[in-house]
Symmetry: C2
Subunit: 893 residues, 2 copies
């Protein structure tokens, strides 16, 4: 049919494609698409997004719109042989919003437009089911009064809904269906009265209704909720929304009618069967409301055999057409199937992988699109132990949900509460599952964290120490739970009234952040079994096989190398199993806490002079050497980036009386002297204090010991590629001087192999002067955690007091510690990359901050031309997939 | 004469100018200049810097150099009618280094080249004064052995000097002059023996001596001391040094000879008389050594009347020629004057100003060059009270120097030691002069600081709280004195063995950082008397008149406006007297500590809910309003930039038991509850925590109160130009939202005037996204203190543990908190300026960090196109001059 300027018609005589989502919105484009494919779509039309923007700008419609809408309504009338506003044979229509992307917060739907009292009475006079017309009218009046006219009582509440509830209460009925036609008629009269009392009468004229609804949809583009949602999701105002006007079909007309939803494949498991549910004699909202229990889709054939086979046909065709699993809404009226919606279906991680593999095998989807169809974060789900979903649901229903924190380390863990690292080790050594509960964690807690199944903190954010180390260890981790009061002295964990004590069981869902009272059964992931424990054979695990295939495809495409951040050989083994191609960050300080060596470390730090310090360093050297040797052996020829000592020295010192006494005894000085030295080392802002290479410059002997240990270790292993990384460089001269110390150590250790010396870029000044720094560096590794802290002037440790509010209120769209702030921090990364490469064109560039495991950030790192990203072992698969997606999205393959 | 390629000859037949310092070095160029003007300069030649670099690179001289040097030596021989190496009539020469800029650490001087035993004996045989030739030979051997051959004993000591001392000791004489010709002959033989024993014989052949000395000068360009000096002063290696070879003249030949130094004007006071001193029958080094007391230059006419009148003539001509006060070295041999050196003379601040004014009045110097001739920092000297220099010297000689800290606030202060702000107020209220001694200061100490004459801290750097606030108050301030142990509980101030207690007197020299035991008399500056106290009339103070004239000239030229950082009306009055054109930073938080209001502030912070907080804010509003009103009145129509609350709230809370108890009582809650709330507000890195606009976003009611107080105050004053500054903005959205609150407050206060809203740029992210932020800002004010902290990742409070070492060892050339780091922080300032102006071309740009008062930084801010700098009141005159110099140097006028 002939195209109109401002109105796009769809139906059996609809227009031809292509149907642009940017113009018609997601819903409108899909309806038009389905209609053009010949599927039964109630006829209708879409007013495109361009009209929305024009209307909002000028506060009036394009001149020709009125005529075009009227013509389109006539088209509908013709197709369904009904007439808009006609008493005898009225056409009823729906009006729905439909933006190019899904937009909660927008005005949604008005049904049954075209009804008024006269028409309803005429309908009622001709129909056996008296209840149907009055219920339809009641629904129309309620929606229109609420959504279009926005009528509210003095308390800001919807008076229609309140009246409806009070009416049911007076009649002592629970369900809407228990109200009869007379009841509904009473309610309709009362609704009209309410609207009149608010001086916003509900119009009777059908066209007045229609224009009111269309304008309300457009105006809702500017309501507060929509603005907030757009801000939070980075959606531009200039996108606009479309309006869809469509002939009504009724699933609640009679027992030959019904309604339902369907997925072309199982969205939970990915199984290749149409999956869904339906209700007989019901409207779509009845399915959603969950009042009546719907039937599984297979049962449809017993009720609507023709419609069911039509539906299966539609499912198969749509999946072939869209080359993706689809989510459909349909209605059956008088046995005939009508399609109301279709879109790409949401799914779990398990389903995503299964569907991707199947669609490729079936030749429906390309490997590239298969990779793009999987949310990389979903891969994490496949790797984590999970709570049995029914058990968890029951526990929550039973009132056992204690609170919610930030979901910092995904998975499920159940265990006994302990309040100290020592207790964690003690309980674990007795074979007890343990949840370590701390206000926050510090390097001293590492052994306790390793012993625990899960970690719960009341402070800190997604990149707090607990979250960082927890994720790296693959621990379930819930952090920053603000309604938890943790008293480590009294050993109490308090949620409002509930007081838990050491030894009590709690369960943490690290995927949702939920904290549940008592034990909950978990099951471990199949992939982990295959990769690490080995008691499950690869061929016995479909999940593993899917995962493995997806990883192969991703590896073929991606350009970024994926390394891992690990400090210990067993972590390194895990990371290699997950596909890590090297170590991007090995923090030497974590090794300092192992076993008895912390005492030697403390001696070194508290040394009054260089001689005593050197004595301690001499004893640390063989221990570090052994650490490095083990890691080199595990990494079998893969590059290993080892970072020199980074944290402020006071982090290693004892904070308790017994620790202080112990050091006084070891060092043969008074307790007060030890206290004084500890006090001397305290800092106002440790994050900006004496740390990183500033330590190595003040005490070159520390750098010397670490470098020598490293080169001696490397000398004992074949095919070893050490990359020594100097932390917190802000000035070229710092790197130059540390480099000299390191090179000397290599000579002293008679190391004959090749090695590289590079630096973290984690200070704005390093990025700004990257050209100079690059002259002395073989590689840069962006420490985006610290770079984010200094660029924002925002301490991770302190951000929890306001950062959540910033995100909640839309000042920031995302936690910049979780996903790289492209405009600010990203600008520094780009600048440093280009300045660095201009100065040295073979400069290796990588990232070792937490962002190295974040898909959105990985896209940016790929675009910026980095060589690798490095992330915690459990995020390696996610990074592999994200890196492949970056190529597909950015390089446009 | 004909130019040679590698040798520049000077003398009566010397070359014509211009003489480039870059080629000939400072000394060489000035010698050539003097010679070409016809003044008596001993003939000689300069080997230019280019040869130095070639020699150091290739380890050999240009092919033609040998012939050219020999030809130049012949020229000297011709001019002085002597012959190099000739027994009967030997030419003796000196070899001196001379880089384009003065370079301590370089090899300096070898005298009497051309002597050997044979020549000395021949000379001795013909001369009455036997001592002269042997002393000349002794000096040559000693210098050559030490400086050219670098002979050292097993302890690294100079064996010649040691032998000389032991010889005098054995002879029981104190002065060199007490040794006779035979003694000196003995010593010469022993010197040659020592050199032979070290296998480095001192050559007899004159040319061998010459080439040895030339090479030694060139090689000293690469010695450790020169390298360190270059690094510390940002001098490039590629500059190189020149060598000056010159015929010797002897001031110690007889009583018709002598030597001296002269300034064309008095370098201490600037008085327009030749000033200097001389010795009869002496060498230049005798004047420097200070063994014999030289005579004032006027006495010369009694000894050498012709030479004296020649010297006065030279002085006058050179000053006319160089158009600057000159510092000269001369020698008289047989009554004839010889000029050995001339250069621009160093002077005190008082002299600098006097000389500049006089030279302009005399028509010798342009106003522009007069402005350039004054080191802006010197103006500060004119403004500060000073110790009587003799008294101070005596005190130091008497062993009363206790230690040295960083000279953070110039001037001189004497007073009684107190260890708390309260004690400072108590002592001061009794009329006692007080020095406040604290490990470091905090806002709680402000009233105590105001009461004190001087402030001494053991921690912190040049921009610590004590330094910042101290300078702003114009207090004498010595900070970060690491050898002071301060025990505020026991009230002890300990320097090594010396223990000082509360009430003891100390004296602080804030210009040098010296700390002196006991009282020292001071005198206050004349300018201050004229400007503020008014008991000295302008016409009675030459210093004031000079200052005032210089300031007028500077104001005519400069383009940068100069504002001031003040918080209180009396500070504002002072700043205006010094020429401030507005307030660039008024910190509202300092007002919070005044009087009893701190309790209300604490109530506001500790409030459990918004209602209690609002109650406290309602009581603060009239107090703040009054503060603002007073400041507006003082500023009489000048712009006033008021910054909203910036520091973390915990800074305002009590840290002691009594304060906590008091708040518990006021707020009617338990002491434990107060403690808990205080603990909740503590932060790991307060500098990166909940502060700045983050507070205003969390508690808009605080911003609202401050803005309302400000607008209500402004409404009461005529001609008022408030500029409201939002601190610590990192994201455009923060500013946008605070702006909304401020604009609403203006409406609520019914303020009818104009006002501006802008932001600090003090976070790297703000600079990086300045384009977006500018859309919502009327002005940017660079907070370079915090910007330096975050760009370097360096806390001012913690930097003292390593920053001094960084500067000492040359990693950094300067303290980046004192002088802006142009490469790093400066890059962000430039970036933000251009992004900001691209986005809004009339965006006002200023700086309110400490760097706003630093001359070097001011040069950069001028080049970057800023509109104004803002600094503490006492630095306003310095900034006015520096801003004029920036125009003259940068804009090339």
């Amino acid at each position: 049919m002939k195209k109109m300027k401002n109105v796009h018609f769809f139906g059996s005589i609809g227009e031809k494609g292509p149907f642009k989502k940017s113009l018609l919105g997601g819903k409108g484009a899909n309806l038009a698409e389905m209609a053009s494919m010949g599927f039964p779509v109630p006829p209708g039309f879409t007013i495109p997004t361009t009209v929305c923007l024009e209307y909002l700008k000028n506060n009036q419609y394009p001149q020709e719109l009125k005529a075009e809408v009227e013509k389109a309504v006539i088209n509908i009338e013709t197709e369904v042989s009904r007439s808009f506003g006609d008493k005898k044979n009225p056409l009823l229509i729906s009006v729905r919003s439909g933006a190019p992307v899904s937009m909660p917060g927008m005005m949604d739907t008005i049904l049954n437009l075209g009804l008024n009292q006269e028409i309803v009475e005429e309908m009622a006079s001709k129909i056996e089911n008296q209840r149907f017309p009055w219920d339809a009218y009641r629904r129309f009046l309620q929606m229109y009064g609420d959504v279009v006219l926005n009528i509210r009582d003095e308390n800001g509440r919807d008076p229609f809904n309140d009246y409806f509830d009070s009416y049911k209460h007076d009649k002592q009925v629970k369900e809407d269906t228990e109200l009869n036609a007379d009841d509904l008629k009473d309610i309709c009269f009362q609704y009209k009265k309410i609207a009149n009392e608010h001086n916003r009468p509900i119009p009777d004229a059908p066209y007045e209704q229609l224009w009111g609804a269309i304008s309300a949809v457009f105006k809702s583009w500017e309501n507060e909720r929509a603005i907030v949602y757009r801000r939070l999701n980075g959606i531009k105002y200039e996108m606009g929304t479309a309006v869809n006007v469509q002939a009504m079909v009724f699933g609640n007309l009679n027992d030959d009618s019904g309604t339902g939803v369907a997925f072309t494949r199982n969205p939970a498991t990915g199984k290749a069967n149409v999956y869904g549910e339906f209700l007989v004699n019901a409207q779509g909202e009845d399915v959603v409301a969950g009042i009546r229990t719907p039937l599984p889709i297979e049962k449809m054939k017993n009720f609507f055999s023709k419609a069911y086979s039509d539906l299966l046909n539609v499912c198969s065709s749509l999946e072939q057409h869209y080359k993706e699993m689809q989510d459909l809404e349909f209605t059956i009226q008088d046995k005939k199937l009508w399609m109301l919606q279709c879109r790409t279906g949401k799914r779990t991680g398990f389903a995503a992988v299964q569907i991707a593999v199947d669609l490729v095998n079936e030749g429906i989807m390309s490997k590239e699109n298969a990779l793009l169809s999987i949310d990389p974060e979903h891969l994490g789900h496949l790797l984590q132990p999970l709570f049995d979903p029914n058990e968890k649901q029951n526990a929550i229903r039973g009132g056992r949900l204690l609170g919610r924190g930030l979901p910092a380390g995904p998975g499920a863990a159940t265990g006994r509460i302990v309040f100290s690292a020592q207790a964690a080790e003690d309980f674990a050594s007795r074979g007890e599952p343990v949840i370590l509960v701390r206000p926050e964690t510090s390097p001293e807690d590492i052994r306790g964290m390793a012993a625990a199944r899960g970690i719960l903190t009341s402070r800190g954010g997604m990149t707090s120490h607990a979250a960082l180390v927890g994720r790296q260890m693959g621990k379930v981790c819930v952090v920053g739970c603000q309604n938890a009061r943790i008293d480590v002295v009294e050993k109490n964990l308090i949620f409002n009234e509930r007081i838990l004590r050491e030894g009590n069981f709690i369960s943490l869902d690290g995927t949702t952040g939920q904290i549940i009272d008592g034990e909950l059964p978990t099951r471990s992931s199949e992939i982990l079994n295959v990769l690490l424990d080995g008691y499950l054979n690869p061929e016995d695990s479909q999940v593993y096989q899917n995962y493995s295939l997806i990883m192969d495809w991703a590896d073929d495409i991606r350009k970024l190398k994926i390394r891992t951040n690990v400090d210990q050989p067993d972590q390194a083994r895990k990371a290699i199993a997950f596909g890590a191609e090297g170590i991007g960050l090995c923090r030497t300080e974590h090794m300092f806490f192992e076993g008895e060596r912390i005492d030697i470390v403390r001696e070194m730090i508290l040394a009054e002079n260089k001689k005593i310090r050197q004595h301690a360093l001499d004893r640390l050297l063989p221990l570090q050497q052994n650490d490095f040797e083990q890691i080199f052996r595990v990494m079998k020829g893969k590059p290993v980036t080892i970072r020199l000592l980074d944290p402020p020295l006071h982090e290693f010192l004892p904070h308790d009386v017994s620790g202080t006494k112990k050091m006084a005894k070891i060092m043969k000085v008074s307790v007060n002297e030890i206290k004084r030295r500890i006090a001397d080392l305290s800092e106002a802002n440790p994050m900006l204090g004496h740390r990183g290479c500033r330590l190595g410059l003040a005490y070159p002997e520390i750098t010397e010991m670490q470098a020598k240990a490293l080169f001696l270790a490397a000398g004992k292993v074949n095919d070893v590629h050490p990359e020594i990384m100097v932390p917190l460089v802000g000035h070229m001269e710092e790197l130059k001087r540390q480099k000299r110390v390191i090179s000397n150590a290599a000579k002293e250790a008679s190391f004959k192999g090749t090695y590289q010396i590079g630096t973290m870029i984690e200070l704005p000044r390093a990025a700004l002067t990257a050209g100079e720094i690059a002259k002395h560096a073989d590689f840069f590794s962006f420490g985006t955690n610290d770079l984010t802290q200094t660029t924002f002037g925002l301490s991770r440790d302190d951000a929890s007091s306001f950062l959540p509010d910033y995100i909640e209120s839309g000042i920031l769209h995302e936690d910049p510690f979780a996903s790289l702030d492209i405009n600010g921090v990203g600008e520094l990364v780009s600048m440093a990359s280009s300045k660095g490469r201009n100065s040295k064109n073979d400069l290796k560039l990588g990232v070792c901050g937490e962002h190295g495991g974040d898909p959105k950030s990985i896209m940016f790192f790929h675009q910026t031309g980095l060589d690798y990203v490095s992330c915690s072992p459990f995020r390696v698969p996610i990074a592999r997939l994200a890196a492949a997606q970056a190529v597909l999205k950015h390089d446009g393959k």
